[in-house]
């Protein structure tokens, strides 16, 4: 299973451009619409999909993703359904890596062994679990990696050189660099600081480095993509979904197309990134 992720990043490297990694919340605003969004993402230029698992208490997320999680839960989303979205996606797309992203408690309650099994069966490639730092690797990371899932780790500006080896030890797939301290959806930091941070992490690992938090436009994607192996966009997509809904949170005919338009724009940003860097 890891092969799909490694192949995707190797292909992009050969192509000479960074990956566009897109996050959205599974089940937001409802299961069927969310499924259509997922299927539309690769066509609009997404290279890797982060599929959010809603949680009632997302303590590292800003208001946009909190609300998306609440919409999804209200519409009846649960972990089994989120895994099922990946399974359905795989019926028509064998190549785009899927990373599940969320918090540990729903997985713990689902049962770690059962979760790993079902995730593999559904064609999921990796996991990002926000509240499982390296110190908690025995919980999920080690058993998941042993079965062939990637465990993608968040690194932050507070992860100094002394700590990086510990954080990277059991990680695979790619490294997700959170480009500022803070919750998701905050303002974009200085691109030169990001380039420095990417270089610092590259000193410790061969894995691709994807940078996220704060990317909203094609221009942001281009600037960050100049130094990173991938650009993660989350809050901007989730905000776009929210904007397209009716007052009481129902999907409209604009919901899926407006996300496609946004992602297509971002994708031109990552495709221009290395050209810009070479100039």
């Amino acid at each position: 299973m890891t092969a799909r992720m490694d192949k995707r990043f190797a292909d992009l490297k050969a192509e000479g451009r960074p990956a566009l990694v897109t996050y959205f919340m599974g089940g937001d605003p409802d299961f069927e619409t969310s499924m259509k969004i997922m299927q539309a993402l690769p066509k609009a230029g997404a290279d890797v999909i982060e599929l959010g698992m809603p949680f009632s208490d997302p303590m590292a997320d800003g208001p946009a993703i909190q609300l998306a999680g609440q919409r999804a839960l209200k519409a009846g989303q649960n972990l089994a359904k989120t895994i099922d979205m990946a399974r359905r996606f795989r019926e028509t797309d064998q190549d785009t890596p899927i990373v599940l992203m969320g918090y540990y408690n729903p997985i713990y309650i689902y049962g770690v062994e059962r979760f790993i099994e079902d995730a593999l069966k559904a064609g999921i490639d990796g996991l990002i679990v926000v509240d499982l730092p390296a110190e908690m690797d025995d919980e999920l990371c080690i058993p998941a990696v042993a079965r062939g899932l990637n465990f993608i780790r968040l690194t932050t500006p507070t992860t100094d050189n002394k700590r990086l080896p510990r954080v990277l030890q059991n990680s695979s797939g790619f490294v997700y660099y959170v480009s500022m301290n803070g919750i998701t959806g905050s303002a974009l930091p200085d691109p030169s600081l990001i380039a420095g941070a990417v270089a610092r992490i590259k000193g410790h690992t061969e894995l691709p480095i994807c940078v996220g938090f704060g990317v909203k436009t094609a221009e942001h994607a281009r600037l960050i993509g100049a130094s990173a192996d991938g650009v993660v966009v989350g809050t901007a997509i989730v905000n776009q979904i929210a904007l397209s809904l009716t007052k009481d949170g129902q999907a409209t005919q604009d919901t899926v197309p407006s996300v496609e338009t946004l992602v297509r724009g971002l994708s031109t940003g990552v495709r221009a990134a290395r050209l810009a860097a070479a100039e």
């Binding site: 839960l73 780790r153 968040l154 301290n181």
Partner: protein
Amino acid sequence: MNETPKLNSFRAGPDEDGRFGIYGGRFVAETLMPLILDLEAEFNKAKTDPEFQAELAHLGTHYIGRPSPLYFAERLTAELGGAKIYFKRDELNHTGSHKINNCIGQILLAKRMGKKRIIAETGAGQHGVASATVAARFGFPCVVYMGATDVERQAPNVFRMKLLGAEVKPVTAGHGTLKDAMNEALRDWVTNVDDTYYIIGTAAGPHPYPEIVREFQSVIGKEAKEQMMAAEGRLPDMLVAAVGGGSNAIGLFHPFLDDESVKIVGVEAGGKGLDGEEHCASLTAGSPGVLHGNRTYLLQDSDGQIKEGHSISAGLDYPGIGPEHSWLKDTGRVEYVPIMDNEALDAFQMLTRTEGIIPALEPSHALAEVIKRAPKMDKDQIILMNLCGRGDKDIFTVGKILGMGL
């Protein structure tokens, strides 16, 4: 922990990973990991630093007013006609509850770590007031996160915090109670990790917080043990304390955990009853899960989504519990029982009238359990209850329920 071998001590935890059996741990975002490792190192140094301990003791005596009295509730004892009832009167502390014990300790840690800003979460507002108080005393700016529902039902404490110079930020997510306030405080901390110290008020959260809070609250149990020996020449037969997150309870219980003759009872908020959703009895009616940095008993659904609790007492209105309490429950060392809103209200009024003490609604839950148990015990037996907060803050809530206009 299902098959518990005979333990040499119930006081040895947590282990180096911050675990009490399967409970506790450090389930936090990577951004916070370096910080809680720093905090752990600083705390370990401070524990054995005579200068730190001397400053803590000095402030305890001259600022908080420790030791708090051990009081024999003679009229209540006579009224119930059973065991002798003693109160550890932490409601007489500066700021009106046990919360100040922990805040003084943690602000000294913040100072040692060179932090510039204090944040805190609060439910009833007692911890918020205590945090705002120590922030004022040591000259730190302070932001207190408080659920919007709690802001409304604990108006006097909101005003006190503002007077003390703190900024009170109402949190509207969820039911607007303690859980939501803690989420928001954690978000602030993740965002301002460089200069900010988060004073967690209860014995929960990621390691080392449960241990830190216990350390600073254990002064309650240590004093009570000495005072009881002086008053009665022996240990009490039973300890009773209210548990929300569990800080006052662990403070009283911990020094007694290895005294086998002492029965220990923790009292949870049963709200409107355990049959429905409107309670906060995470130990009695919850199951183990992971929230706010630790594994512990939680109120949650079959998908691992956290439920909103309910209690008449804002301080007990939390769907989790400190991890050490979860472990003490599983090992059987402590018995945890629920008390309903109406039982707590009755106890509140009974104490007010028999002893002239207006208790907070939190210890009123403990008192309701004492009222149930004391009559069934012998007259030469002793119950020690932690009277951890005073009820001034609750008079509006109680007045409304009793239909008395204020």
